[in-house]
Symmetry: C2
Subunit: 343 residues, 2 copies
Amino acid sequence: MPDDGLVVGLDVGATKVWAALVAPDGRPVVRGSRTIHSNEGPDSVIASAEEAIRACLGGEHSNAEAIGVGVAGQVDPLTGAVAYAPNLAWRDVPLGKRLHDSFHVPVVVMNDVRAATVGEWRHGAGRGARDLLLVFVGTGVGGGLVAGGRLIEGASNASGEVGHSRLVAGGRPCHCPSRGCLEAYVGGWAIAARAREAIEADSHGGAALLRRAGSLDLVTAVHVGEAAHAGDPLSRLLVDETGVYLGTGVAGLVNAFNPARVVLGGGVIEGLPELIPVVAAAVRSNSQPPAAAAVTVDRTALGHDAIPVGAAEAARHALDRSSPDSWDPAPRAITPPRAFSGM
Amino acid sequence: MPDDGLVVGLDVGATKVWAALVAPDGRPVVRGSRTIHSNEGPDSVIASAEEAIRACLGGEHSNAEAIGVGVAGQVDPLTGAVAYAPNLAWRDVPLGKRLHDSFHVPVVVMNDVRAATVGEWRHGAGRGARDLLLVFVGTGVGGGLVAGGRLIEGASNASGEVGHSRLVAGGRPCHCPSRGCLEAYVGGWAIAARAREAIEADSHGGAALLRRAGSLDLVTAVHVGEAAHAGDPLSRLLVDETGVYLGTGVAGLVNAFNPARVVLGGGVIEGLPELIPVVAAAVRSNSQPPAAAAVTVDRTALGHDAIPVGAAEAARHALDRSSPDSWDPAPRAITPPRAFSGM
């Protein structure tokens, strides 16, 4: 049967590999996943990825034109190798070559947040925008930038580390070499740290949150969100502060980049969607008037599909270099990652 | 005589109009200027601008193919009108049309910092870079971004307000609607404000700085720079802090944007070039390792010529739309401002 234009999108995370067979309109027509453990090593993870892909291809759709992969790490776009993926404990894993050897189609490998950015931009909440800032708030904070209808990659393919834009110079220590990064206030780990400090300071009463977590060491951002939803005043305060921190930091990026749309996603936003209007208000009141007037703040639309859909889209685009004007709204809108198609 | 490819570049500032006849290689071959007063009204300022242009065209070079204008304000790129220029007290001044009516050549009007960005990128310290961040630190702080070989304009032509990226959320009040902007720490007005506060607090001795300025109200960033160069400990501390503030803020933008080069200019940098290595060190130590490894920090190369050279370059590029691949290093590298060529 005709499977024209189907491309596999693959999300290689720390606990799961998640594949989807994606139609040209961005719709995932089949999905497959396998649970993995980050300590099992690249061979085992790649085998699970191949199983997840085969699960997608095993039914009525047996062909894919290409494979696009999003992986939580630094990728060499020229070779499709994963240079460094701390959550998987990978260094220099030739993921693109391995998948090409198994499936004999072009493979594009990219950073997972970059892939999610492409997915939301082309088929999700960023659709139609030529100037877009995506901010994904999970345990860490990452993002992506689209300017003038083109994905911004940066001089060393490292752009989009918006979690390490500045929020409070000299402020809270970050997991990166600096202090006072946006992530050090609004990342999941940072929300948990702020919660533990607030409980210890006991200025607003931490008993409900502590009871929910079991012990101080075990407090996470999820507990904060659940307790806030249950009405705990301290947790609600922590959530409100998180929204203002995030919006204030995003406003600084809005002033620098002047996007038409800010799209927020990631686990913290999924768990606390009430952050969106708080962020929107803080963006409006902390941006220069011309930038504030031009921007809207929205939630991601694709959820867990964003990475496979975006990785598939990037792979499709890499194949399409011969027809650069086929994209809407902007021709050659992604500077295409290179398709790995054999040695 | 053949004047092939000469374009007028014009800098309309608050105290001076500054014209140059610019060769295709970016070299200003003739310059002319007129002093103006910001309260004299648009007609008088435009007349002075026309005189400055005629001074360039009066000698051996009598022809220009186009006029490019940089003006300290918000510009409508479609009409060449200056929507708002607070330092000139202009609103909706049809500058492009007026100059076209006088000189009968296409006119491109753009924001002055954007023009300086183009000048430094194409013919100055940013030459050859495809990913570039320019930060101009004067009384205010502005800048420009080039990504993937293209000038970033933003959704409403307002990108580059890097002075209003965040440094300290909730920190010092800015002249914009927000607090804690980079400009509120390192702009000329902010250096002066910090100096006055330090003198009042008297913790490091403010007598030398106060004596130099005459009175507390009269302390400016220029006094701070001069006193620092004369060895005043308080002023040296203020300068060092300024460098760390600037570098820490720039590092946040480097993380988001991953430029190959950061170019620093403007009056504060011209007066305090010793800030460059301080900023470079702070950028290195506060950026993510892949971004830090990819970036260098340099001083602007064109000085006062940056705005006319860049405006002329933008006008030349707008005329060149028919040959988009004529630019090195990147084809169609500037999304061209529209040339105003008559009603």
